[in-house]
């Protein structure tokens, strides 16, 4: 029973990690928090849904389309809301507020188009088979979710550590001015970060839609709250921390539903967030944070 719960938690937590990895990368590189990341997630889920139902595509093309769509939204967000602020000397709250505005616009447009009802991926989108592994039942869906999330996350880490662009991204995260002096096109790196982070958010949207078998226009809010908890848990801007934080939150949620009560599942993330703020605000792997003026 306990091991079964762990398997469920792994599927849930992997998606949280996938969502948070982009969220934390944006903070690490651009030092802003985009509160539109939940809306991007929702856009990705609906793009995948449309590709699956209207064009009857399989899961991999659906994921690619959803990542492209949400990456595009990320590009537009950067163009419309974040880049103009970067040009000016902005108050540190300005990008947060601008992205709240963008999230409201995106969500209400989608509510106008899709309404408030829940949508489902077509039956048999992922074959309904069970695998048994030492008494633990794993559905093919769970396996798909876990594998896809981890493959994407490993690709991200490989990209950041081994490729030229990835190194540029890390250099800008370290210090954008020095990066610019070294000839890194900082603006392009910012754009690229927004696109890639948003596309990861979109992929998380499709996987969440599959996991719970519902997609609706309000799905961005709850994941945004969880994403926030996860990136604080892992230390803001820390990719590996976000991965670990997502898994921890997944386990905490599943275990609290299994052993306490399902009513307060949405409150678990806040409890965890609050606890970490009290005990170790720099996150589980974090170093001491220097206050910046």
């Amino acid at each position: 029973m306990f091991y079964q719960q762990l398997a469920n938690a792994l599927a849930l937590g992997a998606v949280y990690s996938l969502f948070a990895i982009g969220f934390t990368l944006i903070f690490g590189v651009m030092e802003i928090i985009t509160l539109a990341h939940g809306a991007v997630f929702m856009v990705g889920a609906f793009a995948g849904y449309t590709a699956a139902t209207k064009f009857g595509l399989g899961i991999i093309p659906c994921l690619i389309i959803s990542m492209a769509a949400s990456g595009f939204i990320g590009f537009v967000l950067d163009l419309v809301a974040i880049r103009p602020l970067r040009k000016k000397k902005f108050h540190h709250l300005a990008p947060m507020i601008a992205t709240i505005g963008c999230a409201t616009i995106i969500t209400s447009i989608y509510q106008g188009i899709f309404g408030a009802e829940a949508y489902r991926f077509p039956f048999d989108f992922v074959p309904n088979e069970n695998y048994e592994f030492r008494g633990i039942q794993l559905t093919q869906l769970q396996l798909t979710i876990i594998f896809t999330s981890f493959i994407l996350m490993i690709m991200m880490i490989f990209f950041l550590n081994k490729t030229k662009w990835g190194k540029a991204v890390r250099a800008v995260a370290e210090n954008s001015r020095t990066g610019a002096l070294l000839g890194i096109p900082v603006e392009r790196v910012y754009q690229f970060t927004m696109i890639i982070s948003s596309s990861f958010g979109g992929a998380a949207g499709v996987l969440t839609g599959l996991n719970f078998n519902t997609i609706h226009t309000f799905m961005g809010g709850p994941i945004l709250h969880r994403g926030i908890a996860v990136i604080i848990l892992g230390g803001m801007g820390d990719i590996r921390g976000a991965m670990a934080g997502g898994l921890i939150l997944g386990f905490a949620e599943v275990l609290s539903v299994a052993y306490i009560s399902s009513d307060f599942r949405d409150a678990v993330s806040f409890g965890l967030l609050f606890l970490i703020l009290l005990i170790r605000p720099s996150g589980i792997f974090g170093k001491k944070i220097e206050r910046k003026g």
Binding site: H92, A94, I97, I100, A267, G271
Partner: protein, 290 residues
């Protein structure tokens, strides 16, 4: 003329009540914004205040005044408990903690028995009169006028300009940040109590993320350089939706567009020198053209 006034009043008097309540909410978030902090929990504080005061008048039979004050005190206690750990850190943490906190309040209200779950509380006695609102608004405005040139007001301004520098100057930044956050929660709670005794129905849905964004929009549109900004902003944004009814489901997008445009083009809001200067420019250009 008087007939027109009477019919106008009968149609739109609720709008005036709402303008006052929204004005108080705008002021409640102004306090934290004036310190350079973003709190997204004011809708939740309003909710705590609304439920507290409604339950006290209905279940315990408290007089209206006392339950209103209790509806302000409880949220400010909660704010104190959240504020002390989060406000030691940079302002970003408050925004994120309050965002999560709002969700928790909604979930708790949905699952508790005494709050009536998702059905909310129905049939709250309608005790809020217009003069209550005018009086309380007057007290709050008096408080803000006194605040502006006091030690507290100046400390808030200094923290907003540069937190590190003001802490070096000997301002106890955490103390002032916690204080503004708590006072803002008190005002939001009182506004919630007044609202509950005016609409006689409350449910958890009214205190989620969307109302929090609405409150933020009031203050950002009006501007946070002076406290008149949020008041003007909430008056505009209370009247505007009445005119936007034709937009149907896309009405919320208007709020988002306003938020975005104001942050990009009027970073100090409508009630600010920037608007004044651009208006002056506009008029002088017209004159020179003519």
């Amino acid at each position: 003329m008087s007939d027109f006034l009477i019919s106008f009043w009968q149609t739109y008097n609720t709008l005036f009540y709402t303008i006052f309540i929204h004005g108080m909410l705008g002021l409640s978030i102004y306090l934290t914004l004036a310190c350079g902090l973003l709190s997204l929990g004011n809708a939740a504080f309003m909710g705590i205040g609304a439920y507290t005061s409604a339950l006290l008048t209905m279940k315990a039979g408290f007089p209206f005044g006392i339950s209103l004050i209790a509806g302000g005190i409880l949220p400010s206690m909660v704010a104190l408990a959240i504020g002390i750990p989060t406000l030691r850190l940079s302002g970003v943490y408050l925004a994120m903690a309050t965002l999560g906190f709002g969700e928790v309040v909604r979930v708790v209200l949905l699952n508790m028995e005494i709050t009536g779950g998702s059905m909310g509380i129905n049939g709250i006695p309608q005790k809020t009169e217009l003069w209550h609102l005018v009086l309380i608004m007057g007290i709050i405005i008096f408080f803000f006028i006194r605040l502006r040139d006091s030690k507290y007001g100046r400390a808030m301004e200094a923290i907003n300009e540069d937190e590190v520098a003001s802490s070096v100057m000997g301002i106890r930044t955490t103390y002032f940040k916690v204080w503004t956050f708590t006072a803002g929660a008190f005002i939001a709670g009182v506004a919630g109590g007044l609202n509950a005794h005016f609409t006689y129905f409350i449910s958890p849905r009214e205190y989620g993320f969307e109302p929090a964004v609405d409150i933020l929009t009031f203050a950002i549109l009006g501007g946070t350089k002076t406290f008149w900004g949020p008041i003007a902003g909430s008056a505009i944004l209370t009247v505007l939706p009445e005119m936007m009814r034709f937009m149907g489901p896309y009405r919320l997008a208007v709020n988002g567009i306003i938020l975005l445009l104001v942050v990009l083009y009027l970073p100090n809001g409508i009630v600010s020198r920037g608007t004044f200067i651009s208006l002056k420019k506009l008029f002088s250009e017209r004159k020179s053209n003519a």
